[in-house]
């Protein structure tokens, strides 16, 4: 069952950027693509527990700030060493300027 949580205002995220979101001790990363699409993944790199919100967002990819591991943030797919495990993604919707993520998604 979906559990939609208000995470941030849509304007809190710059185009082609990421911000962190924490809920009940769990970390998430919320992305805004250049064409104003919104996405969410787990907050930590699957290689080591580095927060992705400090990484580089470029061309639909988030790069981990520690070892440059790369994920497609729209699908969660790991794009090569040193990340070998896909990252979990979460459904996102934007209503009335607020970004919601389904943390059960």
């Amino acid at each position: 069952m979906a559990q939609w949580i208000a995470a941030c205002a849509a304007e809190d995220i710059d185009p082609e950027d990421v911000i962190p979101f924490t809920r009940d001790g769990s970390d998430y990363a919320i992305y805004r693509s250049p064409d104003d699409g919104y996405y969410a993944t787990g907050g930590h790199c699957t290689h080591e527990k580095t927060l992705l919100c400090d990484g580089l967002v470029m061309d639909g990819v988030i790069e981990c700030p520690k070892h440059n591991g790369r994920f497609d943030y729209t699908s969660g797919k790991a794009l090569g060493a040193p990340v070998l495990v896909d990252i979990r993604t979460y459904p996102v919707k934007v209503m009335d300027g607020t970004v919601y993520i389904d943390v059960q998604g």
């Binding site: 080591e48 990484g55 580089l56 470029m58 700030p65 520690k66 070892h67 440059n68 070998l84």
Partner: protein, 371 residues
């Protein structure tokens, strides 16, 4: 004492597990506060600077190889030697920095260009691209953590004969070939198995076979043409052109703190002239690189300015760095607790030393924990 201390660097020894148990592995490292907006500017990458620099680099390599070969083959002139020596240094030394930057994936915006340079530079510097990618990943996770970091070049006490012999590749090259044969046979070393995931190992074996095939062709050409030239051009530079690789490389961490969680305690930034910075692709900004590995080499001078308030003053030259490094290495031959501890500028964020074991001396972990 020295031998016991050296044994602690093994990745398959007790020190590895002790470092994990003590929380040294995968620790929380200090990073200077840089506003997100500014950091995004610094991380932003472009193809142009690295394509320009790579074109100049490869152009010089091909030009020098062509001139040196022509002078030797056509005119039988010893004037070939300086050209081939310069070629060898570009091949055998500066491929290290190209390997490094492309390995991080930060040099180019376009991935396939980056990966192509990584494969080429890995061949030139005689490193397997896969094992060394994982080795370097560990180096960044656990920089100079004893028993965890596979890339500690200067241990305590330093293996001086090995370091000096390596100025002409006398240790690293035979080891590289030993590893190539081992990998080609489908085996990793126990240490490599500690940091290379099982799913990545087939790539290691395949690459080793390709590299060995190239060297076999090179030797066959040398025998067939009864000339040293093929070996001088392929593989040989890793011997006769390697010195600058080590001269630059030792400045990164030699003589500094171990088992710390702050790159300002175990890494150097050395100011270099334009030529050295081109040859080394700005790896002299090494504190900056370790603190923020996402920043491409051509933005490191700007990052240096951004975080200089938090850092010790950079060394003004290679000479200044070695005036510190050599005495430190000599002193560590007898006193393995000694390390160079820099003074931060007034107002800098204090060193991140969350526990006594992070004080840089790298005492045996059981002793330090008890203290």
């Amino acid at each position: 004492m020295g031998r016991e201390r050296l044994e602690r660097y093994s990745l398959i020894g007790a020190e590895n597990q002790a470092a994990v148990a003590a929380g040294l592995a995968g620790g929380d490292w200090f990073r200077s506060a840089v506003p997100r907006k500014r950091m995004k500017e610094l991380m932003r990458r472009s193809d142009y600077p690295a394509i320009r620099d790579t074109a100049v680099w490869l152009g010089l390599i091909l030009l020098l190889a062509g001139l040196g070969s022509a002078l030797w083959l056509v005119w039988h002139s010893w004037w070939a030697v300086p050209f081939l020596l310069a070629y060898g240094i570009l091949y055998g030394s500066t491929s290290d920095s190209r390997w490094h930057e492309s390995g991080h994936g930060t040099a180019f915006k376009t991935r396939w260009i980056d990966e192509s340079l990584y494969q080429l530079a890995s061949f030139m510097i005689m490193r397997d691209p896969t094992t060394w990618r994982w080795s370097h990943t560990r180096h960044h996770t656990d920089t100079l953590v004893v028993g965890r970091d596979p890339e500690i070049a200067v241990m305590r006490p330093a293996r001086l004969a090995r370091l000096l012999a390596n100025l002409i590749g006398l240790v690293d090259v035979p080891v590289a070939f030993w590893l190539m044969f081992r990998h080609a046979g489908g085996r990793l070393t126990a240490e490599e198995a500690d940091y290379v995931p099982a799913s990545e190992r087939r790539k290691v074996y395949r690459t080793a076979r390709v590299h060995l095939a190239i060297y076999t062709l090179t030797i066959a050409a040398a025998i067939g043409f009864r000339s040293w030239l093929p070996v001088v051009l392929v593989g040989g530079p890793r011997f006769y052109g390697a010195c600058l690789f080590y001269v630059y490389g030792f400045t990164q961490h030699a003589g500094l703190g171990e088992n710390v969680l702050d790159h300002r305690l175990n890494t150097r930034t050395v100011k270099m002239c334009f030529v050295n910075r081109f040859l080394y692709w700005n790896m002299n900004y090494h504190v900056e690189h370790h603190m923020f590995p996402m920043v491409p080499y051509y933005r490191l001078p700007e990052l240096h300015e951004e975080i200089s308030r938090d850092c010790a003053p950079p060394y003004p030259s290679l000479w200044a760095a070695y005036k510190e490094i050599i005495p430190a290495i000599v002193r560590q031959l007898k006193d393995q607790e000694y390390y160079v501890r820099r003074e931060l500028l007034p107002g800098a964020a204090p060193f991140n030393e969350p526990a006594p074991i992070n004080d840089g001396r790298a005492l045996p972990l059981a002793t330090a924990t008890a203290a």
